[in-house]
């Protein structure tokens, strides 16, 4: 292997940095029309009537659609994954989003009508011409009130606002509790956040009436499922639909939501009108129209012995799914990286009059890790054990892998941690941040000088690279360059480089000579998408398998041409040569031409070309692990924090490209800092979003994101030939827990207990005020 593991500069960067990369909004077609949506201001209201006559009269308006106009073609969206299997202890009420409001608005921002016009300006003006009569209903905004028998119902055909319920049991928590020396029991609340991708969503649909062919450019993380779903919905064959997910300015999960109202409507209207239609979400819309994440109320407890060993964890929690639950039931756990013998969790998923929630980078792990790490921190304080020591005492030991958790994972199969070695990662992070030296020398000195400095260190696990499968087709072209097509989309992960490195190692070419196409169903149309930190694991290994197959074809043909046994051949610098006789060689381009002859015959049982398609599907997800450590200082006047040092030590198995990996980690940490201390979607008691602009919803900027030092350990996954594990989400996962620990450590005089996330300077001020008052 030559390239895998090296810091190779990204193949895609010249295109991105010089503005040559195609994004959805760059698509500009002749006769293209533009769409704008009328969205409800009310969170819960009965739709009495819509008058579109004035809008239709506005010059430049081509059409207006409402649920009524859609008639028979109006139907709720498909569930993203099939509802969970009906097993014991699982209840699931599937209620999927609708293309346009028919009878009742269920969240503020829900689309009521769409205007199609010659320009976006005209379309937006015409949206204001529409007169809608909405009768406001009582709003369901609070999770606990939503479940009370007195609550109004969001879906009136259900008995309550309970969307799903599930119990997970491992061992016997009640018994563990009886035997425990210490019980830490707390209510922990996690509030809403947005993914806030730099690029909002967008879609362009073009129907070619003469060839009966639909082309859709979509900011989706899952172009193939979108293609399949659209074909089914529109009554077309899959080969009549091409979905292209070009370059995306970030995905982070919400672009994996399938099907948004706009995704269902724009292609449908393009066919109706036989004209291309473009819709680009604006930033304000993004706050109303793109899914969000994470309101949860946890009543959690941890049972420990006097040595700080966890005997069991129990967690009863409520989760806010918003007005619909198209994403199905995807559950993480609150056991962290620890060897927990007894576990009981009960989730109740609740419908509210708010935007739908779906996984955002981290996908439940930031919450689950927050619970585990917070409870452990509080236990450590109670027992007088050092935070690092209590973690070491509880880590799953390396000889226990594969570690069977005896509960089910996000895909409703058994949760198993494939491999891991946690202590070296923690030790390395502690060394890199200078933990002992800081606690013994630096912190006392700085405190004496009046600085509120604190240190935090937390660990996380993440199951990554889940199935079902991905595939790739690799072709050696006549010009000697290698073309690779895979189904996953790309949102900035560096696929054009890390995947190329895998291929280059097998086929003996330069990384720059590997040309990758991702996210275009015309190029490759089997697969699922880019989510759940699975690109490098699942697509990466499919590409590897495909490259291995092409390599075999190259060697077989070259052996015939060069009249030398395959074992004596090597592929190097784009040529196949006989080892030790370098002048006896043939270029890959020439071989490709020979493999696809114009004369003669391709032997029966063989295939033309140097091409292979291969697939990879892991048995279950590979579990990555890491430790984050941070030193911060709090300004107790302004409650702003300054991060003095930030260390990440990451074990995501085999590293394909450390530079790309570090970029992913940096981005994740930045997002985590936002989730921990700046970003919160504030809703009032009527489920009105109060900060739907980037002036009020604060995402971290260069000033809030420190220099991040990244260290690596490599415990290869036994589940795939490359040994890779996912890393795309990891950076974001432990940051809220880390902030909580470091803030408590920085402000010992307040004896703070932080039991919520996200925090903010304002919120920290309030917490300190409360403490001052109560003391």
């Amino acid at each position: 292997m030559n390239y895998v593991g090296k810091r190779i500069k990204r193949n895609e960067d010249p295109r991105l940095l010089t503005g040559q990369a195609l994004f959805v909004d760059d698509v500009d077609l002749p006769r293209m029309l533009h769409a704008a949506f009328l969205r409800s201001d009310y969170a819960h209201a009965r739709l009495k009537s819509i008058d579109i006559s004035a809008a239709l009269q506005r010059p430049g308006v081509v059409a207006v659609y409402t649920a009524e106009i859609m008639g028979e073609e109006w139907k709720p969206g498909p569930a993203l994954v099939s509802p969970p299997p009906t097993v014991e202890n699982v209840l699931f009420n599937s209620r999927t989003q609708v293309p346009l409001v028919k009878d009742k608005v269920r969240y503020a921002g829900e689309p009521i009508a769409v205007v199609i016009a010659e320009s976006r300006y005209i379309a937006e003006d015409a949206v204001e011409d529409i007169i809608v009569d909405l009768e406001p209903l009582e709003v369901v905004a609070d999770l606990e009130k939503a479940l009370s028998p007195q609550s109004v119902l969001i879906h009136e055909d259900l008995e309550s606002n309970l969307a799903a319920q599930m119990v997970q049991v491992k061992g016997d928590y009640a018994k563990a509790r009886q035997e425990a020396d210490l019980i830490i029991k707390r209510r922990i609340i996690i509030d809403r956040g947005a993914a806030a991708a730099m690029e909002n969503r967008g879609i362009v649909a073009d129907w070619d009436a003469k060839s009966h062919f639909l082309t859709v450019w979509d900011t989706t993380q899952a172009p193939i499922p979108i293609r399949n779903g659209l074909a089914l919905r529109l009554g077309l064959s899959e080969h009549q639909v091409r979905v292209i997910a070009p370059f995306l300015g970030g995905g982070f999960g919400p672009k994996m939501m399938m099907f948004y109202s706009e995704e269902m409507l724009i292609p449908w209207i393009a066919i109706k009108l036989a004209r291309p239609i473009k819709w680009i979400e604006d930033r304000r819309e993004n706050f109303y129209a793109t899914t969000q994440e994470r309101v949860q109320i946890h009543d959690a407890e941890m049972a420990l012995d006097h040595d700080g060993r966890i005997l069991g964890i129990k967690d009863n929690f409520l989760h806010d799914t918003g007005a619909y639950d198209p994403y199905g039931l995807t559950q993480s756990h609150t056991m962290g990286a620890y060897d927990v013998a007894n576990y009981y969790s009960e989730i109740k998923v609740v419908f509210t009059n708010k935007m739908i929630t779906t996984p955002v980078r981290g996908a439940g792990r930031p919450q689950g890790i927050y619970i585990a790490e917070r409870l452990l921190d509080l236990a450590a304080k109670e027992l007088g054990i050092d935070p690092i020591e209590i973690r070491k005492r509880n880590f799953i030991p390396p000889d226990k892998f594969p570690y069977e958790h005896c509960i089910i994972d996000q895909a409703f199969s058994p949760l198993i941690f494939d491999s891991g070695n946690y202590q070296p990662v923690l030790n390395k992070a502690a060394t890199m941040i200078g933990y002992d030296q800081f606690v013994k020398e630096e912190q006392p000195r700085l405190r004496a000088e009046g600085h509120h400095v604190g240190i935090g260190i937390v660990s996380f696990v993440e199951t990554t690279g889940v199935g079902p499968y991905e595939g790739a087709r690799i072709t050696v072209q006549a010009n000697g360059k290698i073309s690779v097509a895979t189904g996953v989309g790309t949102q900035g992960q560096g696929h054009f480089t890390s995947f190329a490195q895998i291929v280059a190692d097998q086929l003996g070419v330069d990384v720059q000579d590997v040309q990758l196409v991702t996210g275009d169903t015309a190029e490759f149309h089997w697969g699922t998408g880019t989510f759940a930190s699975r690109g490098a694991v699942v697509a990466g290994n499919a590409i590897h398998a495909s490259a291995v197959a092409v390599r075999a074809k190259i060697l077989k043909l070259a052996s015939e041409v060069l009249k030398a046994p395959e074992e004596e051949l090597e592929i190097k610098d784009g040529k196949v040569q006989v080892a030790d006789i370098p002048h006896l060689s043939i270029s890959l381009g020439e071989l490709a031409t020979l493999a696809n002859p114009l004369r003669g015959a391709v032997e029966p049982g063989t295939e033309p070309g140097l091409e292979a398609t291969a697939y990879f599907g892991p048995k279950y997800g590979a579990t990555a692990f890491g430790t984050h450590a941070m030193i911060l200082e709090v300004d107790t006047e302004t409650m702003m924090v300054e991060i003095k040092r930030y260390v990440v030590v990451e074990d995501c198995g085999t590293i394909l490209n450390p530079m790309i990996l570090e970029g992913q980690v940096h981005g994740g940490v930045a997002m985590g800092i936002g989730n921990a201390y700046y970003e919160k979607l504030v809703y009032d008691e009527n489920a009105q979003l109060l900060n739907a602009s980037l002036a009020d919803y604060l995402i971290p900027t260069a000033t809030e994101v420190p220099r991040i030092v990244v260290g690596h350990e490599e415990t290869p996954s036994p589940l795939n030939p490359l040994g890779t594990k996912g890393a795309g989400e990891a950076g974001a996962i432990p940051v809220p827990a880390l902030f909580a620990q470091a803030l408590e450590n920085a402000l010992p005089e307040y004896n703070l207990e932080i039991l919520e996330s996200p925090l903010s300077p304002n919120r920290l001020f309030e917490l300190l005020q409360k403490k001052e008052k109560s003391q």
């Binding site: 201001d41 009310y42 503020a108 009527n686």
Partner: protein, 207 residues
């Protein structure tokens, strides 16, 4: 959102009552008001152009007056909606004589605000609403004084209502001064709408 405050009119209570129930005066005192029509015994409908920061558009409102004690107090219930969002709620207005011949208006109410008004204008809502109310009341007070002066001198009323730009400038100045206090614009708008409605009701009933 809670709204409360008071304002001293430089004139007697009867005149204040009369002026706040004169829809024409009210409409001019709150520039942007396109119309204010009586549609029932205690019910009014109006339209008003509202602009707060990045949020602008036409608001249609319905105002209901109840619990009226002539010359003294009333309750206003408002339900306004338009492209910028919606505002509904109710408030009480009380007029009291002051020993120096002036009139003290006290108002308090509760508003629910939604849509862009709430989500984008939130930060400016409080300041904007207070300022709009204050500026509107000041304009009413000027009209009142013009009326009182004309009465005492037996002349025609000389009063030029503030132009929309003057009004906007006054609000902008107030807001700039209070920006740091945060979350306000839409509250202000809502308050203004409510006050406008209240004033309209009062005026029309005075006739």
């Amino acid at each position: 959102m809670k709204i409360d405050g008071e304002y001293i009119f430089k004139g007697p209570r009867e005149e204040v009552w009369r002026i706040i129930r004169d829809p024409e005066v009210l409409a001019t005192a709150l520039p942007g008001t396109k119309r204010l029509d009586k549609v029932g015994e205690n019910e009014y409908q109006g339209e008003m152009n509202v602009r707060v920061g990045p949020v602008a558009g036409l608001f249609s409102g319905r105002l209901v007056v109840s619990k009226e004690v002539p010359l003294s107090s009333l309750t206003l219930t408002v339900d306004g909606r338009g492209s910028p969002g919606f505002a509904n709620g109710s408030g009480n207005v009380i007029l009291n004589d002051q020993s120096d011949g002036t009139t003290l208006m006290k108002y308090e109410g509760e508003l629910q605000i939604g849509g862009k008004l709430a989500s984008v204008g939130q930060r400016l809502l409080d300041t904007a609403s207070k300022s709009m109310i204050h500026t509107g009341l000041e304009a009413l007070d000027l009209a009142l004084q013009a009326r009182v002066a004309a009465k005492s001198e037996g002349k025609e009323v000389e009063y030029t209502p503030p132009s929309e730009s003057k009004f906007a400038a006054a609000v902008a100045k107030d807001m700039a001064g209070q920006m740091l206090s945060s979350r306000t614009v839409w509250i202000i708008i809502a308050i203004i709408v409510i006050l406008a409605i209240v004033a309209a009701v009062l005026i029309s009933r005075a006739h």
